[in-house]
């Protein structure tokens, strides 16, 4: 009896120690990466980094202002394309389709599209936009990102719209308001915070994407405000600079890595704060 008890106690201790250690191991690596991004990235950041264009390789100084702007530019255009379409599709799932066959198919495919390899999306957009239009362009990059964004928005929009109780809809409908007005003025209003959260999370995710931009928005050494021209982005710049031969490039790549990581984390934290303020779980 005593022996069995001890053995069980021993296994318990062993198993818990193992999971503690593995947790420690995993967390250790993740923080190791964060630490390196911060310590290697900080020295690269100065005023010029945020305000100047890159100088030719080998020369000192210059910055990545064009890539910072490019990332914002491409992400904003992607958001303008992806968010309204995603919200409308989500609206269909939650307000009209609900349990219909169409709705289940859309749901199912959205869930799969969420995890589709992003480099394949890049190939797709190269084939339908870059080649026919005869050039790499910011808009091609934005379309690729919006395709990645779309299913995320569709699913979150549906989830948060469903959280609005049916009794609210019925109350508004009973007052004689048409369905679409109820959706826009009552349901959207009720779900606005949840939708914002979903949008922010999606924006955070796509702003860190590299693979779909390699063959679409490409790169540019200058400022670009034109959707039809190639544009630099922070992530593609990291890819090129990290594989480049110059020390200065590696430093700048770490700086860019720090900026993009910090931005993504801040947006994600902000998005989460929005949800927790609504419903303390």
């Amino acid at each position: 009896m005593n022996f069995f008890y001890l053995r069980r106690k021993f296994y318990n201790l062993l198993a818990l120690t193992v999971s503690l250690l593995s947790a420690g191991f995993g967390i250790f690596f993740l923080f190791w990466i964060l630490k390196d991004v911060i310590t290697l990235g900080l020295p690269a950041l100065n005023w010029a980094f945020f305000t100047e264009l890159p100088v030719p390789p080998g020369a000192e100084g210059g910055g990545l202002a064009h890539a910072i702007l490019g990332t914002i530019f491409v992400t904003v255009v992607a958001t303008v394309i992806g968010v309204p379409s995603g919200i409308l599709a989500g609206t269909y799932l939650s307000e009209y389709g609900r349990k219909s066959g169409t709705a289940s198919v859309v749901r199912f495919l959205s869930d799969i599209l969420v995890s589709a390899p992003s480099i394949v999306i890049g190939l797709f957009v190269y084939a339908i936009l870059v080649k026919p239009l005869g050039g790499f362009s910011a808009i091609a990059g934005a379309v690729a990102l919006s395709i990645i964004m779309l299913p995320v928005i569709v699913r979150t929009a549906e989830e948060v719209l469903k959280l609005v109780p049916d009794s609210t809809r019925e109350a508004a409908l009973a007052l004689g308001a048409p369905h679409w007005k109820v959706t826009v003025h009552v349901v959207y209003r009720g779900a606005i915070r949840g939708i914002t959260t979903g949008v922010l999370l999606a924006v955070a995710r796509v702003s860190g994407e590299t693979a779909p931009l390699l063959f679409t928005s490409f790169n540019n050494s200058f400022w670009n405000f034109n959707v039809a021209e190639p544009t630099a982005t922070l992530t593609v710049t990291i890819f090129n600079y990290a594989l480049g031969p110059y020390e200065d490039w590696h430093t700048k790549a770490w700086g860019a890595a720090l900026i993009i990581t910090a931005t993504v984390l801040l947006v994600t934290i902000f998005a989460r704060l929005l949800v927790t303020r609504r419903s303390p779980r």
Partner: protein, 312 residues
């Protein structure tokens, strides 16, 4: 009369709104079919030329224009399996720690920190792998592996710090936050009643985890693992930096290899010949099909467990 007219306008408004939202919902389906169709059309020249041999041939010869997908497919699958083998126990450890062991004040912050790490862009993992982890491996870890484990064929090779094993490891680190936060969420869905009755009959914590929590959440965990696998299979940036880009299939895990996504990132803007290009798109199609199957599988397994853990 006015009321009737308003009624009519409302009806039109309703139809339009419904139609528009239906259009965008359907666009997801159309998009998916369109991606398949475009990839298929672009890979037709390669399919016509090589047929099914494309899948089993390991030749990748841009001079003689002979292409086979095997090395890339092999690398994609093996690096993902390595990632899963490393990541799953660690992720479950983290999930167990977070739900069953951590003191109350710790659970929230550590859980959130892990979820936040899941949002770090994958290129950061790849870059860190190349600049920090690869030199560390080749200086400190791999010489040791080769010296003491080198008699096992898979641990043979040169200490490059870059190759199949390092790529799998970086992938593992990348998917750990993902798998652990999903598993934590499913662990939390176990009704406290069940666990309490376990403790009530005198079971230890580990016995409750093993006999109650894990069986109860099995399909959810498997689903989380497969979702993680899906991410690993399709990942580009974390792999491309560290896998070594060699089209040779080697039994040794320390040797350089390649994956579908790494091949695409390396060679797509480079390929000149239409057949070369088409073979690359065909690789993309294969990757799309593999992940599609894996994700469908995950979806059916998670099925009952309606996962609401976020939008990862």
């Amino acid at each position: 009369m006015a009321l009737l007219e308003r009624h009519k306008a409302d009806k039109i408004g309703d139809a339009v709104f419904r139609g528009v939202s239906y259009f965008f919902a359907i666009s997801v389906v159309v998009l998916m079919l369109f991606i398949f169709a475009v990839l298929f059309k672009e890979s037709l020249p390669a399919i016509k030329k090589f047929g099914l041999k494309f899948l089993v041939s390991s030749s990748w010869d841009p001079v003689r224009l002979e292409f086979g997908a095997l090395p890339s497919v092999y690398g994609t699958i093996v690096s993902s399996i390595i990632a899963i083998v490393i990541a799953v126990p660690i992720s479950l450890g983290i999930a167990i720690f977070l739900t069953e062991m951590a003191p109350k004040g710790f659970k929230g912050p550590i859980g959130t920190a892990i979820e936040l790490l899941a949002s770090i862009p994958s290129i950061i993992y790849g870059m860190w792998g190349l600049f920090v982890f690869a030199p560390f491996l080749s200086d400190h870890v791999e010489p040791w592996i080769i010296e003491y484990l080198g008699f096992i064929p898979i641990f043979n090779g040169a200490p490059l710090g870059i190759g199949m094993l390092p790529a799998g490891f970086i992938l593992a680190i990348m998917i750990i936050p993902f798998i652990s936060s999903v598993s934590r969420d499913v662990f939390q869905m176990v009704p406290p009643m069940l666990k309490e009755s376990g403790y009530g009959v005198g079971a230890t914590k580990w016995e409750v985890i093993r006999k109650v929590v894990i069986p109860y959440t099995r399909s959810g965990i498997i689903g989380a693992v497969i979702l993680g696998l899906g991410r690993a299979l399709g990942e580009t940036m974390a792999v491309t930096f560290v896998i070594g880009n060699s089209h040779e299939i080697s039994h040794a895990l320390l040797d350089p290899a390649t994956s579908i996504s790494a091949t695409l990132a390396n060679e797509f803007t480079e390929a000149v010949d239409p057949l070369y290009l088409s073979s690359l798109v065909a690789l993309g199609l294969i990757l799309f099909v593999i992940t599609f199957i894996v994700l469908v599988l995950a979806k059916f397994l998670i099925g009952g467990f309606s996962y609401k853990g976020g939008n990862l």
